[in-house]
């Protein structure tokens, strides 16, 4: 456990009006680790994720990506964001571009690769998510699962040091969840450092190295999956996982 620290989050706070969504969240993530963040809806999980690449501005607290402080006033966020892949719940593919163009746009306009290089790289990533034959399809011609895989390819093409997944399967038909989780599992297997906000307990348990249970803006419990899922210490964690277990037939306990 002595590999390099990729992300360090320190005492993060965020408030929307009267509601404090994040009340001092801290954690570190080392290279190659996959971290799952679980917990009831509306408890700040997605906000936390968006604060990490500052799509949402935190009110206070500090975040580092390797040695660079992301929360610094003078940080060039466009530079930082290139190094952090973000996968959204509702895919957010660019509707007017083909799958291939979705993946290579960032390479061409942000990384300034030539069209040839960008295309080659984009095709490699589309192959990686099993969609090479859909390169010329537009988002509206793809299923939800396919769209999400394109969006993963789009993020991976930028060579990120870190991947953030914001409930990547929550908008999908149950039948399509598997293909997306498969891609993410392979990614974790290859040693990608990632944070996954998810309701897929099976995935959190079998793929992730570390699990954070969050509620009402604080980390209630944190530990390796076997500890969180088999011997949760906090009553609230037990209660939450118990409910999930009832619902899905024992995944949680």
């Amino acid at each position: 456990m002595s590999s390099k620290i990729v992300v360090r989050v320190e005492d993060l706070h965020k408030r929307y009006g009267n509601e404090e969504v994040l009340k001092g969240v801290s954690f570190i993530l080392r290279q190659g680790e996959a971290l799952a963040i679980i917990g009831p809806s509306g408890t700040g999980k997605s906000t936390l994720l968006r604060c990490i690449n500052r799509l949402t501005e935190p009110d206070s607290g500090r975040i580092w990506l390797e040695d660079t402080e992301i929360t610094g006033a003078k940080t060039d966020m466009n530079k930082i964001r290139q190094q952090i892949g973000f996968v959204f719940q509702d895919f957010n593919l660019f509707a007017h571009l083909t799958a291939l163009d979705n993946v290579r746009l960032g390479l061409m306009k942000v990384k300034k690769l030539s069209k040839g290089e960008a295309s080659e790289r984009a095709m490699t990533e589309l192959k990686r998510v099993g969609l090479a034959e859909k390169a010329k399809a537009y988002p509206a011609q793809l299923s939800g699962g396919q769209q999400q895989r394109v969006s993963i390819a789009r993020a991976l093409a930028m060579d990120p040091k870190l991947m953030l997944f914001d409930e990547p399967t929550s908008a999908l038909d149950p039948e399509l969840i598997g293909e997306v989780l498969q891609v993410m599992k392979a990614l974790a297997g290859e040693g990608m450092t990632m944070v996954v906000v998810t309701h897929e307990m099976g995935f959190a348990r079998s793929v992730c190295d570390e699990v954070i249970f969050m509620e009402q803006g604080v980390i209630v419990e944190q530990g390796p999956p076997e500890h969180i899922f088999l011997q949760p210490r906090q009553p609230r964690t037990q209660q939450f996982l118990g409910k999930i277990g009832e619902l899905y037939g024992g995944t949680g306990s």
Binding site: R81, Q82, F88, A95, H96, L105, G106, V110, A140, A155
Partner: protein, 230 residues
């Protein structure tokens, strides 16, 4: 027979008038587009003071009757010692007027694009400007086309107002022929037909454009895939 002959002889003049009408329409739509898109972008993405400023501009030009604007700019500016040629004044006045209307077409189109796409672009490391240029504008321009075609057919006919400042476009050309020949009915039927053809032609071209740049799988195509919605 004599009457048909008269139309035949008037055609070169009417053609000349139609050319002025079309040139004016294209110029004014161009000015309106160049000003309207930034106005819309400013209204959607600009800081508060800028929004107030350009919204004032937009409200003002939408509130003014085109004829009043023409008079103010043409005679008013001449009174102040600034004399613009009539055609130039017409392009300017119509362009400003149209930019106000067009800005609202584009504002609607920009706001119809899901914010998530902008977030996704920023998450890739694009600047706000890049995201607008590569993600928002290409989609907004497509979405704006049907309403823009409406603006085209509207201003095409409004251009006849330049009559008032002495630009000899289609309607004025017809008027002059009519004064010489006293053939009110025939001449204006011919003028009306030319407006009809110009409107059809323009809308047809814009429809071609719409189809050419339609996004596969999105609205437009959808109609054909699922048939008519009851």
């Amino acid at each position: 027979m004599e009457r048909l002959d008269l139309i035949w002889q008037s055609l070169p003049l009417l053609w000349e008038g139609a050319r002025v009408t079309v040139t004016l329409t294209i110029c004014l739509l161009g000015v309106g587009l160049l000003l309207g898109v930034p106005v819309a972008l400013g209204q959607v993405y600009g800081p508060r003071p800028l929004v107030i400023l350009i919204s004032g501009y937009e409200r003002f030009f939408r509130a003014m009757p085109i004829l009043v604007l023409l008079m103010v700019f043409f005679y008013g500016l001449a009174f102040l010692g600034v004399s613009l040629p009539a055609f130039g004044t017409a392009v300017l006045v119509f362009g400003l007027h149209s930019s106000a209307y067009q800005s609202q077409i584009f504002r609607g189109a920009i706001q119809a694009i899901k914010e998530g796409q902008l977030l996704a672009a920023r998450a890739l490391g694009m600047s706000r400007l890049q995201a607008i240029r590569y993600i928002v504008l290409p989609q907004a321009l497509r979405l704006a086309l049907p309403a823009w075609s409406n603006e085209y057919s509207g201003v095409l006919k409004d251009t006849s107002f330049v009559f008032a400042i002495g630009v000899t476009e289609l309607t004025r050309q017809g008027w002059q022929i009519m004064q010489r020949t006293r053939e009110v009915f025939l001449i204006f039927i011919a003028v009306a037909l030319i407006y009809l053809v110009l409107t059809y032609l323009g809308t047809w071209l814009l429809e071609l454009l719409e189809r050419r740049f339609g996004i596969p799988g999105l609205a437009g195509q959808r109609r054909e895939e699922h048939g008519r919605v009851v």
